[in-house]
């Protein structure tokens, strides 16, 4: 009974003092591990949360979201957890008899078998196709306890030529890409560059000039820093208008 009363008071304050923009924020609030998001038997714990008695408690640092009865936390930090079907970028660290060993920034190493290359490669000339230190875009074909298997068979996969690669937080990749690629297309148009974003947070940029390369990287770093802000695409457009 007391709780209901408290809620009512809160609602009144919300209507009076908090503007509509801040009210939007209340739907997605930042939480830290151990923080109580909501209490009550009506809610169900989703991804990144757990139930503790009457409360739903955050397991991870991120943004808490309410969708119907389910509460989930969209993580903002953490390691890359490889899943089947992810397109990742990786650096070749070694060549064996049967394929290439690739570092994709996850806990275990990834292996690209020689049969998974799109064209026939002779075992004697493997380093001419992909050498140590090269960057490849590959798809995760399977995740086992021993390691990760990759494949190059697919559209847009293979060895990357030109440009450069840098690393960001893999949990922020969805924001970099945006809804149906809106953010990444905006950056591509404004910098006339070619960008590939791996699910592991490795990003490849190839632009026609050095200035555009720097601009594209700064734009992505801007998105990575401002992930928790809503309406980021408009902010990005403004950023491009103000750039130099």
């Amino acid at each position: 009974m007391k709780k209901v009363k408290e809620n009512k008071i809160n609602e009144e304050i919300t209507e009076q003092e908090i503007s509509s923009e801040e009210y939007e924020h209340a739907k997605r609030k930042p939480v830290i591990p151990g923080e109580i998001i909501v209490s009550g038997e009506d809610y169900l714990p989703g991804d990144g949360t757990r139930r503790e008695g009457n409360d739903i408690v955050a397991n991870r640092f991120g943004l808490a979201e309410e969708s119907g009865r389910v509460i989930k936390v969209i993580a903002l930090t953490g390691a890359f957890i490889p899943r089947r079907g992810n397109v990742v970028l990786g650096r070749v660290t070694d060549i064996t008899f049967h394929g290439w060993i690739i570092d994709i920034g996850s806990a275990s190493q990834a292996f690209l078998p020689i049969e998974e290359s799109p064209k026939f490669v002779s075992k004697a000339e493997m380093d001419q196709f992909i050498a140590i230190g090269d960057i490849v875009a590959a798809k995760i074909w399977g995740v086992k306890s021993k390691g990760i298997d990759l494949t190059l068979k697919g559209k847009g996969l293979g060895k990357l030529e030109g440009g450069f690669v840098f690393h960001t937080n893999p949990n922020r990749v969805p924001r970099i890409i945006g809804k149906e690629g809106s953010m990444i297309n905006l950056i591509k148009e404004n910098t006339s560059s070619n960008i590939t974003v791996g699910q592991n947070g490795w990003i490849w940029i190839k632009a026609d000039s050095v200035d555009n390369q720097i601009k594209a990287r700064k734009a992505i770093e801007f998105v990575v820093e401002k992930v928790h802000i809503e309406g980021l695409t408009e902010k990005m457009e403004e950023w491009f208008r103000n750039y130099k």
Partner: protein, 269 residues
Amino acid sequence: MISMETSNLTKETLKKMFAEGKRFDGRNLLEFRDISIEIGVSNKAEGSTRVRLGKTDVIVGVKLAPGEPYPDSPDKGNLSVSCDLLPLASPRFEMGPPGFYAIELPRLVDRAIRGSSMIELEKLFIEEGKVWTVFIDIYPINDDGNLIDASTIGAIIALKNTMIPVLDEKGMIDYEKKPTKKLPLSKTYPFSFTFYKLGNSIIMDPTREEEEACDARITFGVSYWNNQYMVNSCQKTGELSFSKEEISKITNILSKKFDEMNEKLKKFL
């Protein structure tokens, strides 16, 4: 340096950018990042500093203890610099016995300080067979390149703030008494400047990404004494060589860089 860590693509791109005189963070090739200094970060140490050079973050502590002098300098104090490359600072640091870089880094700091005779080791004599030993401990908290220069800055500022603890009748340190005496230092102090080479370009204060792409580096310990600039120490590492012209170009800007750094850190020295 550790060129295996970086990709071929990024190295080529950085080479092209340096040739045009451009960097990702918008600095000039020979420009330092912002430095911020915090003094007295540890209450157990006799002197301590935290240096932030961009995202590079280093804590340096100075500890004093009475000890035996070395046989070749029975009337002088000892100086010992050590460094722990903690795995939390960078993915390239691993647990286990110290590697090449973990030995080289404190040696470079040690030689810059020793060569400039910043600490007056003769005044650290206590009695026959007993002198003060100055321990400088370097702990990188975050490695975003150029640990050497950041560590030297941290070491000299920590030394400037070091107090000598009080000894009791038995010759043991009495930590309950408040120290009043400062560590005897001369007027001079060193800075180290590390120049990195990639292709035909020479850069200073690289980020980790740039540092990993570079082929060679050379470190100079520089001090100012008797109205002249002195090179106290010098060490080169890496696969490629520096040409005669490059070295003379570097040595010509050392005095300018020393003045710049001196101006930035004036209030701490």
